[in-house]
Structure formats: C-alpha cells, structure tokens
C-alpha cells in the first residue's frame, strides 16, 4: 500500500508543501475535498486558539498544568477525519483537534484539564472513544483489544490509537505491535513524532533511523508521513483504515511533526532545544500551510482568517468561563464510580469524611 514510501529508504509521504502547493495524491489515494479542508482548518485553528488560551489561563493561575498541542494539530485532525465516527479512537494526550472532530466539546476538554473526571464521561454509543491516557504508551494495547473485539462481534469497526515517539521505548509499545501483528488486528497506531519527549530528542530515544520502520519487524507496514500536512495525514490514515476494515491488519503511521510549545505549562523547552530549531519548524506550521493553500484556492480570505481566529478565541474564553462556573467534584463523585455498587467498606469511609 505504501510501497513507494518505505521509511527504510528514507521516504516521507507528503502532499502539501510549505508554500501551500498541493501535489496530486498517488493513484488510489484519497484527497480531502475543499469542504473537508475548510472544516479541518477551522478545527485546527480552534485547537490552536484553545491551546494558547489554556496557556494564558495557566499563567493567570486559573488552569492547572496543561499539555500543549501547538504545531501538531494536523495529525489528530486529519486522522480523525479519515476514519468513521464509530471507529474507536484511543488517544494519548496530545490529540485536542482530534477530540474536537470526534465531537468532544470545548467545555468538556477544558473540564478535563481543569481537573474534573466528569469530562471523561463519554458515552460509548456516541463517542466510541477512550479517555485521555496519561501513562505513556499504555493505551495502544487497548486499541488492539478493541479492534479484536469488534471483529469478534462481526462489526467492521476499526481502532485508531495515538502515541508520542517517546512511547516507542515503552514495553507496551512492543507488546501492542506484536499482538496487533499476530492477531492481524484492525488497528492503526499513529505515532506523533514531535521530536522531543519532554527533554529527550529522538537520537537518544532510539537507535532506529525512523519509528515507522519498526513496524516491519512486527510483520506489518509502517509509513512516515509529513504530520504537518493535513492532506498527507488524511490520505495515509484513510488508506490504513481501509486495510484494517478489510481484514488486512494493522499499520504503524509515524507523523513527523514538531511540538512548537512546551511539553506542558510546567516545562521550559529553552533548556534543551535551540530557538533556531523552533523557528525552522515555525515555517512548517501546519495551520499556515493549509491557510496558504486555502487562500490560493480562494476558499478563504484574509478577513475570514481573522474572523475564524477571533471566533475561536471567543469560544475558548466563554467555554472556560462555563467550566469555572460548573459545580466542582463532590465527595460522592470521588467514591461512587470505583465499583458499580459501592461496597459497605467504601460507604463507611465516605461517611467518615463528612464534615
């Protein structure tokens, strides 16, 4: 499927260049429609504005530690647009845009980072999504199990999971890839390679030239896509999704991208990487690139851009204000979801906490 883009030969699948010029996709590969590209743009801008507002909120002391998505938006937005709304989505924690595509509201997203588990109340039938997974690299196994279960039940749903490049050092990455290969699971493992695992660069993370090439050792295909190119991400994920749906097994996609912001609001990236490197990646900003394309095609005007940004920021501000006004976690909330029925022992402990 991705034979012309073998990562072992140093190939990268890319369609949209930094100037916003789109190359025709290879034969058989899907191309995002203008309408989809515009929708993707709006979502990416929402993610970016929401991200920047979150950082500002953190500095104002209104939001606890927050993990930034800035610069990586095309990965999860493109990937989620390329699968069905009822395919399983198993995120790591840098898939804000993808969560918006899946229908998670901005309030819900902010509520999570505000520190309330109620944000993860995502009914299965509506979202087909697992909550944000914090333990690095542990969630890909869930996607393998979900895909296995769907096939067992006779459904053609697949599972799309995300990880960062640092998670490839975790044992669970190996176990997930190995099981996915052996079971020929209908799963797409999408690794956002943003170059930095907090302070550790890829060169110290792995001796592999690419992450994608690891797939071949597990008996399936890996491909490296330009993760700042929404068209490439969309096409690659849709191809992989078709393969998974038809019983052709897993695909490992490495989205080459860059974290333009800090790891979280508690991190200071100037300690471990140079301004030059960041500036170089700023020129490859996925939103700018798509913006140039849309401007060239007259699907968007300069005035539209300003308006979309403003609307997004307004939306971020008002959503967070709603979150601040929402009821806080109650004592009952912290006790009653451990089990479907609260054991006497827990009920007694809860009673004792009454002041």
């Amino acid at each position: 499927m991705f034979e012309s883009y073998d990562p072992r030969e140093g190939r990268l699948f890319s369609l949209l260049d930094v100037e916003g010029k789109l190359a025709p996709p290879p034969a058989g590969f899907p191309l995002m429609s203008d309408e989809q590209a515009l929708a993707a743009y709006r979502t990416m801008v929402m993610s970016r504005q929401g991200d920047e507002w979150a950082v500002s909120l953190n500095r104002q002391g209104r939001l606890p530690t927050y993990a930034l998505n800035k610069g990586q938006e095309a990965n999860s937005v493109g990937a989620l647009m390329a699968v069905r709304p009822d395919d399983w989505f198993v995120p790591a924690f840098r898939e804000f845009g993808g969560m918006l595509v899946r229908g998670v509201s901005l309030q819900q997203y902010y509520l999570y980072w505000y520190g309330n588990e109620a944000a993860n109340h995502l009914p299965l039938e509506k979202f087909h999504m697992m909550p944000i997974s914090v333990p690095v690299g542990s969630q890909m196994l869930h996607a393998v199990g979900l895909a296995w279960a769907e096939r067992y039940k006779g459904s053609d749903r697949i599972a799309l999971t995300f990880m960062g490049e640092g998670a490839s050092s975790e044992g669970d990455f190996h176990e997930a890839c190995n099981l996915a290969g052996v079971w020929k699971a209908g799963v797409i493992i999408y690794a956002q390679n943003n170059h930095w695992s907090i302070s550790l660069p890829w060169s110290k993370q792995s001796a592999s030239a690419t992450l994608a090439e690891k797939a071949f050792a597990y008996g399936f295909e890996g491909v490296r896509v330009d993760g700042n190119d929404i068209f490439a991400v969309y096409a690659a994920v849709q191809m992989a999704a078709e393969r998974a749906r038809e019983g052709g097994g897993p695909t490992l996609i490495e989205g080459l991208t860059y974290r333009l912001g800090a790891h979280t609001t508690s991190d200071d990236p100037t300690k471990y990487r140079s301004d030059e490197e960041v500036q170089q990646w700023e020129t490859r900003d996925p939103i700018l690139r798509l913006e140039r394309y849309l401007l060239k095609k007259r699907l968007l005007s300069d005035a539209d851009i300003v308006k979309i940004r403003e609307q997004s920021l307004d939306c971020a501000r008002s959503s967070f204000e709603e979150v601040e006004q929402a009821a806080d976690t109650t004592r009952e909330d912290t006790f009653q979801y451990l089990y479907r029925e609260m054991p006497d022992m827990l009920a007694a402990q809860m009673q004792r906490r009454k002041t």
């Binding site: 909550p131 869930h142 199990g145 296995w148 279960a149 669970d172 997930a176 052996v182 479907r340």
Partner: protein
C-alpha cells in the same frame, strides 16, 4: 452432583459461562491447545473453538491491556496469568487502567474482566512461581480480589467474577488445586463476592483464613475440637472488599481472634483484619487479636520452602496461645 477437585471446578465454571455467554473469551499463555500449565483450561478450545479460547504470545501486559479494550467493547474476557509471580509486567495495566476505567470515565466505560492466576507456594516450583500477592492487588482501589478454598466456591466465585460488572482478580491456590475434592452442582450458580463463609461454628476463638492455608486451618480446628476447644472457622473468600461484618460479628461472639495466611505479614490481609477487629470489637476482646502469616522474606526456592510455609503445628500453637491468653 459430581465430585471435583478445585482445579476441575475452575474449569467447570469456565465451561459453564462460555456455554451460556458468547461474550466470554478465554486467553493467555498456553491456555489453548495445551490447556494451561496446570491444565485448568483443558478442553475449552476443543469445545468452543480457537476464537474463544486461544494462546497468546508471552506478554502479560499485552494480555491484560488487550483485555481492557475487549471488555470496554462489551466482551467478558477471562485471562490467565500463568503464575501470579509473573503478574508484575501487567501491573501498569492492572493498576493504571483495569481498576480505573469506570472511575476515570464516571461510569461511561467499564472493564469487567477477570484476571485468573494460580498463586502461593508448596508446589516445589522454581523462583517466581510461589508468591502470594493478594495484599498488593487488594491495595488497588477499583479491583475486587477473590480466593476460593473449596471446589464449590471455586466454581461459584468464578461465575460471579465473570458476571460481575467490575474487574476481578481471581487467585487460585495452586497447592490446593488437586488437594481438595468436593461435590459440585453441575448447573451454574454463584457465590457472592464480598461475603465470607463461616465454615464451622464455635464460640471460643474466631479463626480466619483463606486459600490453601484453609487446609491447615481446618486441620487445626478439628484437632482443637478433639481437645474440647470450640473454634469458629471463617473462610474469608473475598480479599477486597472483604466481609468485615461476618468477621466482627464472630469476634463479638468469641472474644478472641486469629488471622492466618500464607502471604507476608507487613501491610497484609491479616493486619487489615486485626485493625478492623480492634476498631469494631475492642470492647469484647479477651486477648490481643493475632496474626500468623508468612514472613516478610522473598519466597524461597524449594530447598528453603519449609522456612516459609506454615504447618498445622504452627497454626495449633498460635491458636492455643490466643485461646489460653489471660491478661
């Protein structure tokens, strides 16, 4: 009714639930064709097909992590960890996800899976094959932990575990697998999780144990009975959430308490039971509540096992001490 060993009763429970519920799938290392290293899953693959009972690569974290996804998608996976001493690679999945999915999603998603594992010593096994880790699992909020000591309870508790809406760690006393036989109903039945069983009534001492250690506890009770001493023997059966009421009610009757288990002493189940007895029955105690447990040492290889395991003599000595205690 058929007479079954504890091991056969586990197999019977699996077969019963697989026959009645297609969402029940069984997998783990060597559980398919071979039927597991102890042969607990013997015949299941032949009866239900490779899709429902299958071998996995040697990947404990993978087994449990994949089961999380399957359970969230609506299946009832029953996975086997070959020995509890090999559960450590799966600990992240167990403690970070299995136990937390319901709470994390405020009930939107659940992971009702069963993790079966043989545990405990006395089987002359290599290193890492004899651990008693129930206290570790019991310390993880969101898990249920059960241990049968009889074939009847083995079947009933496993059926309950499979049908339970929450994840259950089901620990099987390897030493008791073939040592205990009992009549077991052929149909499906449940034994309630969270309920201890008063196995024999008495009024001078409450003796609580579980798992393989029940073998020595029963012997000790019988020997004491022959001496005219009346011991109430309780099989705890569920480690977490444990049945404090049955234990405390018994102590209120006897005034004396002894908990016996194979697992290490510090921060163990007996410590929790003693604390509960002190909190809820202090006023009736006629002797300091006691615990008799494995020592806080690494489980020895076979040539040293006798320094770890407790015989009926150990139980008798400690039971007599508590019975005869005078302030």
């Amino acid at each position: 009714m058929k007479v079954l060993t504890l091991l056969e009763a586990v197999t019977d429970a699996l077969r019963t639930e697989m026959a009645s519920d297609r969402s029940v799938v069984v997998f783990g290392e060597d559980v398919g064709l071979e039927g597991g290293v102890f042969r607990v899953t013997t015949g299941l693959q032949r009866e239900f097909g490779e899709e429902r009972c299958f071998d996995t690569p040697i990947a404990e974290s993978g087994i449990v992590g994949a089961a999380v996804g399957m359970a969230v998608a609506g299946l009832r996976p029953v996975v086997e960890i070959q020995f509890s001493g090999f559960a450590f690679p799966a600990f992240n999945q167990i403690a970070s996800h299995v136990s937390r999915i319901r709470n994390r999603t405020r009930g939107a998603l659940t992971a009702p899976l069963v993790i079966r594992m043989p545990y405990g010593g006395g089987i002359r096994a290599p290193e890492h094959h004899s651990e008693s880790l129930e206290a570790l699992f019991g310390h993880i909020p969101g898990l249920k932990v059960v241990i049968p000591s009889t074939p009847h309870d083995a079947k009933g508790l496993l059926i309950s575990a499979i049908r339970d809406p929450d994840p259950v760690v089901y620990l099987e006393p390897a030493r008791a697998y073939r040592a205990v036989r009992q009549e077991v109903p052929e149909e499906a039945y449940t034994v309630e999780i969270g309920k201890a069983k008063i196995e024999a009534e008495g009024d001078e001492l409450t003796l609580v144990s579980y798992g393989a250690q029940m073998i020595e506890a029963r012997q000790a009770r019988a020997m004491l009975a022959a001496e005219g001493r009346s011991v109430e023997l309780i099989d705890l059966r569920t480690i977490h959430p444990f049945d404090a009421r049955t234990v405390v009610d018994s102590v209120r009757k006897t005034g004396r308490f002894l908990a016996v288990h194979e697992g290490p002493q510090s921060f163990g189940v007996a410590s929790e039971l003693v604390a509960t007895v002190l909190e809820q029955a202090f006023d009736v105690l006629e002797a300091p509540p006691a615990r008799l447990t494995g020592p806080d040492i690494i489980y020895p290889m076979p040539r040293g096992e006798r320094h770890y395991l407790m015989t009926v003599e150990h139980v008798l000595t400690e039971a007599r001490r508590v019975l005869d205690y005078e302030p």
